[in-house]
Amino acid sequence: MKARYQNRIELLQGTLDLLILQTLQWGARHGYGIAQAIRAGSGDVLRVDAGSLYPALYRLERKKWIKSEWAVSDKNQKVKAYSLTAAGKKKLVEERSNWERLSAAMAGILYPSEKESEA
């Protein structure tokens, strides 16, 4: 059991929201689709379990950053599809720039020599 989780990285607090918003950027997806997209996009490193995904989806929906409607999936099943709202799109841009600043800052600390050579 444990081995399965060894390659996984714990998501930083708040990053799941960003990943979900990003995943929805190109159109509506259902819950399973979002989980799969994150997993595939991260090369199987990031796995979002249902216990984190659904609370996050409901939270984002309550903040009116995403909306949901019932649809039929490509496998012909009735699913609930989530899509970005206008507020969600703005939030995504904001969160992305936040993340870039954060990762740049992290990089600056973790690889100081590169920074110096750039300067």
Partner: protein, 898 residues
């Protein structure tokens, strides 16, 4: 309802969504080549705990908290309903505990804590003497000083004084009755800041000229009782002692006057003293002094400033009063006069805080003890419920383990269990409030039945409700938290396998055991307290009071209320006495100026001198004087020890030398072992005037608790209020109608009051003692039964856990007697532990009760042996049922059970 439907829709959506997630995952896996079964299993494993996902997802729905609370409450109610026995015991003990606490708190609040229901009570101060010049025993303030203080406008918004009493004969529409009055100076209502509910209050204008303004303000309760809340009462004329008075107003319902514990029926101006109180004059009050005196400070004036000013006024007035004569005084005396001062005491809670024998001093000690007693009861009730909950939690161990295994968090479960406790506490609190309502009226009735009735304005107000809520929540935490914590502390695997074999029970049993020990200790303490009070009361009743209380009827009257004066009064008394003697069933009749155990005393007669003897050594004692009619000692059953009783000749005013009878205490104090018969004493320097003709056995005149005071009895038909004593052949209650009829024949208007038996008078003088012992016994027995239930619970539980072990013992040849003893021993050990702790605690604590006890020491051996025996008996009985059950264990069934 709307919320409910919304919630169901959300729930269905969530189910559908999770289902679609799983379906997608399964078909995904099948596309990758897994078999349908594999795909399904793997998808479920990957998804995780469906219930938990639902739970965390629901939390995001917003109103989850409220929703869950509703859920918990519904579930809790169901669990409580399922376990009716537990719920009934828990609710009953909680209701009694909380109800008793609320009732006692409400009364303590009204008597000791609440401020007067007046405007800005914190600005009220009472005037007290600081340094009193030696030789001046007067504790009141002179009229001149009162006027000076009243006239100054600088620091005080007003000054007033008031006098309680007397009883007044009220005639209205041809019906007479006796009511209680208070006389006030004109500023009384303005200083207190009390406005009339109807009409107006008494003002300075009403209190300027003696006898000029016959007006009264009636109290709300009198208005309701006597006038049926008639709004047209203002302007009505009533006859007070035969004088017409106009009702000018009604006070608000919450206003009971400035003395907590009293409830005057009406207030009249001080200047009407001669009409209200026959025989009194305003000049007399000027001489006696103004006390209590009440003042209202102006805003922003400190007590310090005001007391400085008033002290200055006091000294100035005193100098003016003494005048030129001061030149003759010794320097010390002059200095003392100039040094006297005034202390201001906050009076926001009304009078009674300082030496007034009213509610605050009379019942406060009893109330404090009762508060402690009911606090203990609540603790015991909580321990009992905690104990029962522990046993219940064990029974629910499997349910809890299953819920934990299904992913419920421990916090969530604790919350669920606490919700159940809160539900219990809430229901118990609500029931307790109902009980408190009943309890308060019971207590108030008891307090008002005393010899000096105490009236309190007690209502179940917001403060009482808050107290109840706090007590309930506290109780809930006390009895709910530990069991909830323990119940959820479950080792999953053993608990799921089989609860009755798991090792967990050990710790839980220990917790239960210590609770039972605590319960036993607490209830033993309560039993001891109750025992001490009951024994004190018994001793008071068994006490030789010096008179025979059986078959005596007391009737009080005051002919001055209907205009009799001087000799007319004594003549009337003589006629009444003759008439009363002819009533069938009356064996003898007499009258006494001061009734037995009635608190009507004139003690301040000055210094008594015995002819030809120096004053006895030590601090001087002032003997009491009781004026009595013919046959007094025979009628009340007092024994003449030496000499003779009064004869008709002694009542003849003409005879110069007055014959008196003294009691043993008097004889001992003044004459030691010598024969007092024939000795003379008096209140003049010569010490003559009275000749002792007899010695009567000591009788308790003022209080059963105190030893008899030196007392002398004079033969007299006093011209004041009096009490008749009628000794009857049978139950004195039966002749009341005949007594009324007899009085009517002589004067139809004569007011009769305080008609009761002497036995009841004795009971009433013990109102506080009876209150404490009745309540403490009730709670003592209650705690005893709770302790019994607790013991039974813990032993029954232990037996049910040890069924297998007992079965093995029996199959190996243990005799039923041995099994019985084994279980009983367990109960006995717990009880003895509790008894030990309880005895030690009581031994240390009962000293605090000493002032309330009579005739028993705080470590009374009878109580300290009797209470543990009672407790052990109950413990044995409580243990017998589970012990018998243990002996009936069928070894075959017990062993096969697992």
């Amino acid at each position: 309802m709307k919320l409910f439907r919304w919630r169901r829709r959300k729930e269905e959506e969530l189910d559908a969504e999770i289902q679609s997630y799983l379906d997608e995952a399964i078909s995904d896996r099948m596309e990758r080549g897994e078999t349908a079964e594999q795909a399904r299993a793997n998808a479920l494993i990957e998804f995780g705990n469906v219930g938990l996902v639902k739970e965390v997802a629901r939390e995001m729905w917003g109103c989850g908290l409220l929703e869950r609370l509703g859920q918990d409450l519904r579930f809790g109610l169901r669990m409580l309903w399922k376990d009716k026995g537990f719920t009934a015991i828990a609710l009953l003990s909680l209701a009694l505990g909380i109800g008793a606490n609320t009732a006692i708190f409400s009364i303590i609040d009204a008597a000791l804590i609440k401020t007067l229901p007046v405007k800005n009570p914190e600005r009220l101060v009472s005037l007290e003497r600081g340094d009193v010049p030696p030789g001046s025993s007067r504790d009141g303030f002179s009229h001149a000083f009162f006027e000076k203080a009243r006239m100054q406008q600088e620091l005080l918004a007003g000054v007033c004084a008031f006098w309680t009493g007397p009883r007044v004969n009220v005639a209205l529409d041809g019906q007479a009755e006796v009511a209680s009055a208070q006389r006030v100076t004109g500023g009384f209502f303005a200083v207190l800041g009390v406005n009339a509910l109807l009409g107006r209050t008494i003002t300075e204008e009403d209190d300027k000229v003696p006898g000029a303004h016959p007006v009264v303000v009636i109290s709300h309760h009198y208005w309701r009782r006597r006038f049926a809340s008639d709004p047209a009462v203002v302007g009505k004329t009533i006859l007070l002692n035969g004088h017409p008075f106009t009702i000018i107003g009604v006070t608000p319902p919450e206003f009971f006057g400035a003395i907590v514990g009293e409830a005057p029926d009406f207030w009249a101006p001080m200047m009407m003293t001669e009409q209200i109180s026959p025989g009194d004059s305003i000049k007399g009050y000027y001489r006696m002094g103004f006390s209590p005196m009440l003042a209202r400070l102006k805003p922003d004036v400190s007590e310090q400033q005001a007391s400085t000013l008033l002290t200055e006024l006091l000294r100035q007035t005193a100098l003016e009063e003494v005048g030129i004569e001061i030149e003759l005084w010794s320097p010390e005396r002059q200095q003392a006069l100039r040094r006297q001062s005034i202390a201001l005491i906050p009076a926001s809670r009304g009078f009674a805080a300082f030496g007034f024998p009213t509610a605050r001093t009379r019942f406060s000690e009893a109330l404090r003890i009762l508060m402690a007693v009911v606090g203990l009861i609540l603790l015991i009730a909580c321990a009992n419920i905690a104990n029962l909950s522990l046993a219940r939690a064990t029974a629910r161990q499997k349910e809890i383990a299953v819920r934990l295994a299904l992913g419920a968090s421990r916090f969530r479960l604790i919350r669920q269990l606490l919700t159940e406790s809160l539900l219990l506490a809430g229901l118990g609190g609500a029931l307790g409030l109902a009980l408190a309502w009943w309890g308060i009226s019971f207590l108030l009735a008891l307090m008002a039945s005393g010899r000096t009735p105490v009236y309190l304005n007690v209502t179940l107000d917001a403060r009482a409700l808050m107290f109840t809520a706090a007590a309930s929540v506290l109780a809930c935490i006390l009895f709910g938290l530990v069991p909830a914590w323990r119940a959820t502390d479950v080792g999953l695997t053993p608990a799921l396998k089989d609860s009755s074999r798991s090792a967990e029970g050990g710790a839980r049993l220990t917790a239960g055991k210590s609770l039972v020990v605590m319960q036993v200790a607490l209830s033993l303490s309560l039993l001891i307290i109750a025992g001490l009070f009951v024994r004190s009361l018994g001793k008071l009743y068994m006490l030789d009071a010096g008179f025979k209380k059986e078959n005596v009827l007391l009737v009080s009257t005051d002919p001055r209320m209907i205009g009799y004066q001087g000799k007319q009064v004594s003549a009337l008394y003589q006629r009444l006495l003759e008439r009363f003697k002819t009533i069938p069933g009356v064996r003898s009749a007499s009258l006494g100026w001061a009734g037995l155990l009635s608190e009507n005393w004139i003690k301040n007669l000055g210094t008594l001198h015995v002819q030809g003897r120096p004053a006895p050594p030590g601090s001087p004692r002032r003997p009491q004087l009781v004026g009595v009619g013919p046959d007094y000692f025979e009628t009340v059953g007092m024994t003449i020890l030496r000499g003779r009783s009064f004869t008709a000749r002694d009542f003849d005013r003409g005879s110069g030398q007055k014959a008196v009878i003294v009691n043993e205490a008097f004889a001992r104090y003044y004459f030691g072992e010598e024969d007092p018969i024939g000795q003379r004493f008096g209140y003049n320097e010569a010490g003559d005037g009275q000749e002792i003709v007899g010695v009567v056995k000591d009788a308790k005149h003022s209080s059963l608790r105190e030893p008899a005071q030196p007392t002398w009895y004079g033969a007299a038909f006093r011209q004041e209020a009096t009490t008749f004593q009628l000794r009857t052949a049978a139950d004195p209650i039966r002749i009341i109608a005949a007594v009324r009829q007899a009085a009517r024949e002589i004067d139809g208007a004569l007011p009769l009051y305080n008609i009761k038996t002497l036995a009841r008078q004795v009971d009433e003088s013990l109102a506080q003692e009876r209150l404490i012992s009745a309540l403490s016994s009730f709670f003592g027995l209650l705690s005893l039964s709770l302790a019994g239930i607790g013991l039974y619970g813990i032993l029954a539980y232990a037996v049910s856990r040890r069924t297998r072990e007992i079965g093995i013992r029996i199959s190996l040849g243990a005799q039923p007697g041995a099994v019985l003893r084994m279980v009983l021993r367990q109960g006995l050990i717990l009880t003895l532990l509790g008894v030990g702790i309880g005895l030690a605690a009581s031994f240390a604590a009962t000293r605090l009760l000493e002032s309330q006890l009579f005739g028993v020491t705080p470590t009374d051996p009878v109580t300290f042996v009797g209470a543990p025996i009672l407790l052990l008996t109950v413990a044995l009985l409580a243990g017998l049922v589970p012990a018998r059950r243990a002996t009936n264990v069928d070894p075959l069934i017990a062993i096969r059970q697992e």
